[in-house]
């Protein structure tokens, strides 16, 4: 019976040895049956990725190419399987996106390629793979990460979708504006705040929830920025598309409410230090539509100002908003047909898309900038709760 002699951390080489027959159990316990919530809160972010990589390192160390191949294939298939099973669970998808990226970063950081070794400690350089070049597998794992990113976008969209029209357009929070209704249009909802109605606060709370989950999972900051940009694009495009289809949303007071809501979203970005994410820029068409609702629309000078202001809107969108515009009181006037014609003439040289609605399903291309970790592999300990007692620290 082996005697359990406690070893010092420096004696470990940052590898995990496992029996070939235990590979299935490893995938089952580490990927298929792991609960992201418990792990995310209690353990090192990216721990599953580090564990998998330390197993790869051992297979590489013993120069067993079949074992490396088999482990990488089982890992990829295991991740795909759990994402199919919990396809609409944001926590699971976020968790495996973070871990897949961390695994990819490990494969680069310890590849032995100089470009990826710049920030390594001497000890980390000692831990580089010895026998195999896994560049082709890195490509497969990068493709897998892209798939997971697209899945995450779909999950976010399905959660946000029911909140957007209600929270960004219908619900009114600005005092003194809510009483003003476009003439001839009746309020769609009762004057008593409807229970279960989504407000801007619901959207902000949801953004906080997404953001905090991603942070708990140790998602790369650059990746969080891309995801937030995608979330804002969904909010902006769905809001604008609904505005373009609803006369009751095209009034001066709605313009004011939208601008207030957008300012709250911008404040959220500042609060999370995400101003450089490009998220705000995705709201530009919506911001301009809201401004269009509020500016004067009468003289040639007004037309010129509108044409130079609305560079993120297509001609079709500008014309549609002007056509739908509905005065809220006797001090405002409907936009005249001749004013709209003036705008059309001024914009006829623009080579923009004739499309009225934005593509709310558009997904921006994602990148995974290399983000090496300072964590020392030899210091990693596996908690008993993960049921991985069959892995031997080497």
């Amino acid at each position: 019976r082996p005697v359990n002699i406690p070893r010092k951390e420096k004696d470990f080489q940052g590898m995990l040895e496992y029996k070939k027959d235990d590979e299935l159990k490893l995938i089952k316990n580490l990927i298929l049956e792991l609960k992201p919530r418990g792990v995310a809160v209690n353990l090192i972010p990216g721990l599953p990725a580090y564990i998998l990589f330390m197993c790869v390192r051992h297979a590489d160390y013993i120069n067993d190419d079949q074992r490396v191949r088999s482990l990488l294939t089982s890992t990829i298939n295991g991740i795909k399987k759990i994402l199919k099973k919990r396809s609409d669970d944001f926590e699971t998808v976020s968790f495996w996106l973070s871990n897949t990226c961390r695994f990819l970063h490990c494969l680069k950081q310890y590849s032995g390629e100089e470009a990826f070794m710049k920030h390594n400690t001497p000890r980390q350089n000692d831990h580089c793979l010895r026998n195999f070049d896994l560049a082709e597998y890195r490509q497969v794992i990068s493709d897998l990460a892209i798939q997971i990113y697209q899945q995450l976008t779909k999950v976010m969209e399905s959660v946000l979708q029911p909140m957007i029209v209600s929270g960004m357009l219908e619900h009114e929070t600005i005092q003194g504006v809510s009483g003003l209704k476009p003439t001839g249009l009746r309020k769609r909802t009762s004057s008593i705040a409807d229970e279960g109605t989504y407000t801007l606060d619901s959207i902000v709370r949801q953004l906080n929830n997404f953001h905090s989950i991603m942070c708990q999972h140790g998602m790369d900051p650059e990746l969080i920025k891309q995801i937030v940009k995608q979330m804002f694009y969904i909010i902006g495009s769905v809001t604008l598309n609904n505005l373009l289809l609803r006369k009751d949303m095209c009034s001066w007071s709605k313009g004011m409410q939208i601008r207030y809501n957008v300012s709250q979203l911008e404040e959220w970005l500042r609060d999370k230090n995400l101003q450089t994410s490009g998220a705000k820029e995705t709201l530009e068409p919506l911001i301009q539509a809201a401004q269009l609702l509020q500016v004067k629309k009468k003289t040639d000078e007004d037309a010129e100002a509108i044409c130079s202001m609305c560079n993120a809107l297509t001609t079709a969108q500008i014309v549609k908003v002007l056509n739908l515009y509905t005065p809220v009181n006797e001090f405002e006037e409907r936009v005249t047909a001749s004013f709209i014609r003036t705008i059309q003439v001024r914009l006829q040289n623009r080579k923009d898309s004739p499309q009225l609605l934005m593509d709310a399903k558009h997904i921006f291309p994602v990148t995974f900038p290399f983000n090496p970790s300072s964590l020392a592999l030899e210091s990693i300990q596996i908690p008993g709760s993960m049921n991985l007692g069959f892995l031997l620290r080497v």
Binding site: P122, V140, Q147
Partner: protein, 31 residues
């Protein structure tokens, strides 16, 4: 510490789509 030479043996990998196909056929084979 000395820098190790770049690993020499390139492990060829199937694409993600090929892995999908292999996985499906394995699942079909298993009872």
């Amino acid at each position: 510490s000395t820098q190790r030479p770049r690993p020499r043996v390139l492990l060829k990998a199937p694409t993600l789509a090929e892995m999908d196909e292999m996985n499906i056929s394995e699942e079909e084979e298993s009872p």
